[in-house]
Symmetry: C2
Subunit: 217 residues, 2 copies
């Protein structure tokens, strides 16, 4: 029916279509409504094709998570990361519609034992990518400045909260107070960066950077 294709070409193409369809369905309709029938309908393949490549939905979700994590953490290995740059990277990611797919799978892992058995290790492995240890230079500074790590985790949890707000809003838009919260986070990140930077190289950073306590509004 199609043009001539190698086996691996057909396989990867079909699996890719299934992964994309599953992601889209998770975002638009949630975990509960994301059935194999719905996924195959979106992907334009039959359930036979799905069953040939994946033993269960959980298997497919494994590939979905791999795909999403790869998208989310691209470019996160900058060796000169600061709290501000880390925050800005996170901000560029959390508002993506696909983030809802991750939230759906997180909750599903907790709820569905069979799914969790297969996926939980992958979820846990992903979680380490968001820990400070994933940013060596940040982690190093945190050893001397525990307050920096506190700010890091505060930023992290706040972003998750904002992502959940988007995921639960009817059109996927952010809450009315989103901008002001982000502004607050940016201020905190910059202030803490200034503190940590100032103590590293004593007296040359303070003049060019705003003071650590600046809360301009």
């Amino acid at each position: 029916m199609n043009v001539r294709q190698t086996h691996t070409q057909r396989s990867t193409a079909t699996k890719s279509k299934l992964v994309e369809a599953a992601t889209a369905s998770l975002v638009e309709r949630g975990y509960g409504a994301t059935t194999s029938v719905e996924i195959c309908r979106r992907a334009g393949v039959t359930r036979g094709a799905f069953n040939h490549h994946y033993a269960s939905l959980g298997d497919l979700y494994g590939d979905v998570l791999d795909d999403l994590y790869a998208r989310f953490s691209s470019g996160s290995d900058d060796p000169r990361a600061t709290l501000q740059s880390t925050l800005e990277q996170a901000l560029s990611v959390y508002a993506l519609p696909e983030f809802k797919a991750v939230l759906e799978l997180w909750l599903a892992c907790r709820n569905d034992e069979k799914l969790g058995a297969g996926l939980f290790a992958k979820v846990a492995a992903c979680a380490t990518r968001f820990e400070p240890s994933a940013y060596p230079h940040l982690a190093e500074r945190f050893e001397k400045h525990p307050a920096g790590e506190a700010v890091y985790w505060l930023i992290f949890e706040t972003i998750i909260g904002l992502a959940l707000a988007r995921a639960t809003s009817p059109m996927g838009e952010g809450p009315a107070h989103e901008a002001v919260v982000i502004e607050q986070l940016l201020t905190m990140a910059r202030d803490q960066d200034a503190v940590m930077c100032a103590k590293e190289n004593h007296n040359n950073a303070l003049s060019s950077q705003p003071g650590p306590e600046a809360n301009r509004r």
Copy 2:
């Protein structure tokens, strides 16, 4: 079979059992696995009883949300609320296992059109209970101190993030960094309270309260 009971007594007792069973099932097994069969099994009633009182699961979830909101917001109408007291009230609530039931229903509302049609108004009405306007004295101060409202919303979203972390963890426990994040929030709340309080009654608050920039760690 039972001792003599009035009609309304039997009704309220049965509905109460159904609400509790539904909440427990939402917490333990999530929205997807919370079927009418499962709820009735937990409640110890037949599906006939359930169908007699509720036209659908969505109707029951309406009562579930009412019950949970009543529990969560009890005592939130203190006229002398501060950011710190509001935060402490929130901290005493968000870690309750029942909070996961609310999260499940929030996401389900977004995912399930039929459910959302009936429940979304109720969810939105609940959301207003968490807005600053629900704390008149706080809202009044925020008019002169927009930064206070920023801190308020930051606290709000961070707590949601922490609640989600608990909801998605295998045993419902908080993340390792939970304590340090909460400590950071408390510091921010106290500092901002001091700022707002200091500007209200000029010079008597600063001596007894820690300075607004204190970040003791």
